[in-house]
Symmetry: C2
Subunit: 362 residues, 2 copies
C-alpha cells in the first residue's frame, strides 16, 4: 500500500528552515461521508507562509507520526477523488475538487477529507490543473472585492497596490471583463528595464495604467493629479495589499464615499489615513478576508463562485498565474524530497513565480 507524503513542520519559523517532506501513515478506506483525494497541484500562497511563521490567525491541522505532531500546510489545491465512503452522493471517483474550507492541509500527495469540505468542479476542457489549483483563493478574492463593497459602472475606475500578486492579476483581468478601468501600483524593480517589463506584462493582462510605489511617493502631487485626470472623480474602490506611504497618497485620490479595502499587508506597516478623508470625504477603510467568506458561505455559494471563475477562464478572461511546478517524486526519500523543497523555497525567496507542489505517494 502506498503511503501519502506531506509538507509539514513541527515548530513554527522561517519556511525554508522548518518545512520538511514527511511520509505519513497509510490512509484507511474512507468512512461514511469521507472521500480519498489525490492532490494534483497545490499552490504555496503568501498566507501559507505566514501560518508557518506563526503570524497568521489560523491553526494548521496536525497528524501524529511516531509520537510527534506534524502540522500540515496548505489551504488551496485541486484534488482528484479516488474513492468515496458511504453516503457520499455528490462526488464520484475521477471528479476534481477544490477546498471549501481553509487549512485542510493541501500540501499532501493524498488525504482523507470530509465530502462536505470540498467543492466539486464542473468538467471543462478549458480548465488546466494549474487553473484548478489556483481558482479558489485569488480570483474569488478579486471578484468579491470588486463586487461586494460598491457598485461599479462600466466607466468606473479601481486602484490597487500589489498589482503583480495573484489577486492583483485577477483584479486586472476581472475588472477588464467588467469594463472597469484599473490604476495599478507595483514595486520598482532593480533596473528600469525590469520595471518596464513588469508594467508591460500587466498592461498585456488588461491594466489601464501602471505606476510604481516609488513614483507615487517621490512625486505624489503630480501622480495625484494624473490619477484625478484619468479617473475624473469616478474612483470608488481601492484594493490594497501593501499599506505603505503610497497607499496613503493614493487614498487621497479616491472619490467621495469610496471604499479602501485592505486584504494584505506586504509592507508590514500600519495603514495610515489622514482623518479628513474619513470625516469630510466619507472614505471607508475596511478589510476583506477570503477565509472568512468561505467560513460563512453555503455549499451553493461556494459552488457558484467556482462556476463563475471557471466561466471567466473559459471565456479567456482569466489566464493562468505565472508559476513553477515543484515535483516531489515517489522515488525520492523524505530527505531528498526535503532538499528539493528547501531549494525551491530558497530560490523563490528572491522573488520568483508562484510555486505549485506536485507530490506523489511514496
Amino acid at each position: 500500500m502506498l503511503q501519502p507524503r506531506a509538507i509539514t513542520y513541527t515548530e513554527k519559523g522561517a519556511p525554508a528552515s522548518v518545512l520538511r517532506v514527511k511520509t505519513l501513515p497509510t490512509l484507511a478506506a474512507p468512512t461514511t461521508g469521507q472521500i480519498r483525494v489525490k492532490f494534483l497541484l497545490s499552490p504555496a500562497n503568501p498566507a501559507d507562509m505566514n501560518v508557518v511563521e506563526g503570524v497568521y490567525p489560523a491553526r494548521a491541522p496536525s497528524v501524529e507520526v511516531d509520537g510527534t505532531a506534524h502540522s500540515l500546510c496548505g489551504t488551496e489545491g485541486v484534488g482528484r477523488v479516488e474513492a468515496v465512503g458511504e453516503g457520499v452522493r455528490s462526488l464520484r471517483p475521477s471528479d476534481w475538487v477544490v477546498m471549501g474550507r481553509s487549512q485542510l492541509g493541501t500540501w499532501r500527495s493524498s488525504a482523507l477529507l470530509d465530502a462536505a469540505s470540498v467543492t466539486k468542479l464542473p468538467a471543462s476542457p478549458a480548465l488546466t490543473p494549474v487553473h484548478a489549483a489556483t481558482l479558489a483563493i485569488n480570483p474569488p478574492t478579486a471578484l468579491r472585492m470588486l463586487r461586494d463593497f460598491t457598485r461599479l459602472s462600466r466607466s468606473s475606475w479601481v486602484v490597487q497596490t500589489g498589482a503583480t500578486s495573484g489577486v492583483g492579476r485577477a483584479v486586472i483581468q476581472i475588472a477588464r471583463a467588467m469594463g472597469v478601468h484599473t490604476v495599478n501600483l507595483v514595486r520598482e524593480r532593480r533596473t528600469q528595464q525590469q520595471t518596464d517589463a513588469v508594467k508591460e506584462e500587466l498592461k498585456a493582462l488588461g491594466a489601464t495604467h501602471v505606476l510604481t510605489n516609488e513614483e507615487v511617493v517621490r512625486d505624489s502631487k503630480r501622480v495625484r493629479s494624473l490619477i484625478a485626470n484619468w479617473t475624473q472623480s469616478d474612483l470608488p474602490l481601492f484594493l490594497n495589499c501593501v499599506g505603505g506611504q503610497e497607499t496613503t497618497e493614493v487614498a487621497k485620490t479616491l472619490s467621495e464615499g469610496a471604499h479602501l479595502v485592505t486584504y494584505g499587508a506586504m509592507s508590514k506597516k500600519p495603514l495610515c489615513i489622514p482623518p479628513g478623508l474619513l470625516i469630510f470625504k466619507d472614505i471607508k477603510s475596511v478589510g476583506f478576508w477570503m477565509s472568512k467568506w468561505y467560513a460563512k458561505s453555503s455549499a451553493e455559494e461556494r459552488s457558484a463562485i467556482a462556476g463563475e471563475i471557471i466561466q471567466l477562464i473559459e471565456s479567456g478572461s482569466l489566464t493562468e498565474p505565472p508559476h513553477q511546478i515543484v515535483s516531489i517524486g515517489g522515488h525520492q526519500t523524505d530527505q531528498q524530497a526535503t532538499q528539493t523543497l528547501r531549494d525551491a523555497l530558497a530560490a523563490q525567496a528572491n522573488g520568483g513565480k508562484k510555486i505549485l507542489f506536485e507530490m506523489e505517494d511514496s
Copy 2:
C-alpha cells in the same frame, strides 16, 4: 435703527489675531421667505476655529462693509424670530430657532435668514438658552454616531477618545440613557489632582470608566486586558476625535466587525490602524460629519432630531455643557468689543470652557 454686529475676519489665520467685532449695515425688512433673527447665544465650536484658520473644508459667507468683504463666523446658535417676511407660515415672532445648515454666520447680533434654513424649537420650560444654543451639533453628532453604525444592546460598550469634548460629554450621557456602558479616554492634566477631577466629573455625567491617553500608551498591554475584562468582547463601537497612538492601541480591543468612527482629529496625526484588525477582525474605519448629515437631511429629519435632543434635556439625561458667556454689549465700540473678544479667545486657548457669544446690536 440699530445696526447688527458680527465677529468677522478679512484674512484667514489664528482666531485670536484675525477675528474682530465689526458693525454691519442696517438690516432691511425681511423679504418673501425670509425672517429676521436676534441671536441669543452662539457657541464657538472647534470647527469654527478651523474655518477661520483655513483648515476646514467649508466656506464662510461674507458681507461687504465699506468695500471690504468680511467673512462671517459661526455655524451654531439659537435665535429668536423678530419679524417674518411674506409667505413664511412655519414661524412667528418670538419663536426660537436653531440653524438647519452649516455656515450661516451665527456669531452676529441679528441677521436676515431664509426661513427654510432654520429649525423651529418647540417651547419647553426645560430648554435654557445655553441648551438651545448647543443642541444642534454636539448632541446630534453623539446620537447619530451611537445609532447609525451598529446596533447597540443594553449591555454593549462604547469606547471614545476626547471624552471631555462637547460631543464626548453628550456621548457619555446619551449612552447612559440608552443603558450602554462607556470607556472614556481623556488627556492627562498638568497635575494628578486635575486629572482625577476630570475623571470624577465625567463619572458624575455617567461615564463607566475613564482612562488617560497617556495611561493607554504607557501601559497598553495592561489597559487592553482591563478593557477586555470590562467589555467581555461586546465593544462594537469606537468614537474617535483624537487619533493618536492611544487610538491605535484601543482599536485592538474592539470586538469583531466593530466600527471605528472618526469625527475629529485633535492630535492632527494620521489615523494608523494595524491592517490585521481590518482583515482578520473586520474592523471598519469610517468617518462622520454632522454638517454632511444636515446637508442631506430633510426639514422633518432636522426637526425630529432637535425634538429628540430636547426630550433628553427634559428628562434630565442631558445637562448643559460647561461654558462661559462672552457678552459684547451695544454700548461698546467695535474696538472695545474686539478687545473683549480677543481676551476671551486668548484665555480659552489655555484650555477653558466652551465660549458662547451673546451679542447686542450697536
